[in-house]
Symmetry: D2
Subunit: 135 residues, 4 copies
Amino acid sequence: MYSTFETEITIRPDDIDLNNHVHNTKYLDYVQAARYEQMIKEYKMSMEDFHSLGYNWVASTAHIEFKRALTLGDKIVVKTQLKSYSGAQVVVDFWIVKTDSQKVAAEGYLVYTMISLSSGKPVRLPEEIIKKYTV
Amino acid sequence: MYSTFETEITIRPDDIDLNNHVHNTKYLDYVQAARYEQMIKEYKMSMEDFHSLGYNWVASTAHIEFKRALTLGDKIVVKTQLKSYSGAQVVVDFWIVKTDSQKVAAEGYLVYTMISLSSGKPVRLPEEIIKKYTV
Amino acid sequence: MYSTFETEITIRPDDIDLNNHVHNTKYLDYVQAARYEQMIKEYKMSMEDFHSLGYNWVASTAHIEFKRALTLGDKIVVKTQLKSYSGAQVVVDFWIVKTDSQKVAAEGYLVYTMISLSSGKPVRLPEEIIKKYTV
Amino acid sequence: MYSTFETEITIRPDDIDLNNHVHNTKYLDYVQAARYEQMIKEYKMSMEDFHSLGYNWVASTAHIEFKRALTLGDKIVVKTQLKSYSGAQVVVDFWIVKTDSQKVAAEGYLVYTMISLSSGKPVRLPEEIIKKYTV
């Protein structure tokens, strides 16, 4: 089991939709924003660092189950955890949790593929990166 | 097997992200925009019609597999097909297809739950709605 | 001269556009997010409080001058200041400032109109609200 | 007086905000989407064509007056008209018009600056481009 990382996200008015709740696709944007920050703070290897090495991360699969609506006043935290890695891919589980009630608003997973910036093709994860990620 | 419906979507500049491609969560917005239009044109029962009956549809699960990047100039069509229904839910399969090459840019499914506008609770699909949807 | 309020905004990956900068319309979303928070923290009268009184605020005019591009790593603060009020409207000046360099990334103003939630028509600002806002 | 160009825009569910109307900053995205299409269809010089020449267009000022709310079912057309040009800049007036009533939902202008892709600095508009734009 790998570490679980947490990132607070501030819900913005422009995230709210016609049902007066956070728009459903924004949940995935929150997770990706959290992940972006965790690359810097937790893995000490930012997206820009990957770019400098000629790599990029792209989402290959997104799966999300919506459990509870989020509203503009809600405080939330995004938790993520590396589940597994293989070839050019990592599977990252996530949970969006309401801070006050500790109830899960949504959960799911993202499969990210590391690609070469120049060719756009998947690149097998180097040992060095696996080491950094499997903490 | 139920009918497959098709809706053309116009990619907008504000859909493009830092990788110069359509942002990954926008794919799901395209599917939902297509579905919204198909409710009117294909099922002859718009979201507003559901609201008038005291119902609303919310996404319970979204699953998407990204196959090909989309760029600003791409012409795309969203295809959807009811896969199954049960209780208060429908499962809708979708494909985002590049018009020129007929290649699939993404595919997946959405589980939608019909809820009561007043209580927010799931409502078992009435026969009348099942009949309209199972075409 | 009325008080200047400051709110930190976190730039998210989904705010970045095809030029690899914060998308230009997101600047206005940042200002409105800041303003929303300032209603709670500074005026002690949240948007929800206005709603309870049967009022709503809508933007009537937005004017923004873009001075510097913002990128994903930038730290920013939104400063706003009530400039004037009249009838049903307030004019709010704003500046988006890069925290590190203290350089202005954008500046402009928003004209907000207070409307009745039921009729949608403008409502002359009551003395009580003017008093709260002219601090 | 230069030509007025028209582009139909389809309002998407993800454009709708907490007031059940098109979110105010989306209006500017519609104008920019229209302008992007008009570059191809009307000026026969797409954004990509500008990029190939080493140029890019960025918004320097946006001014918009909101006249009427737009809802999900509304049909709209964006009209734009070059107002003037000078140095590296063009001023483009715009109107968002509801197709059914022909009423203006919003109007304003955008100042666009042509910059060098490599230096990021403004580039005086070449005669050739002025000629294409002043139709």
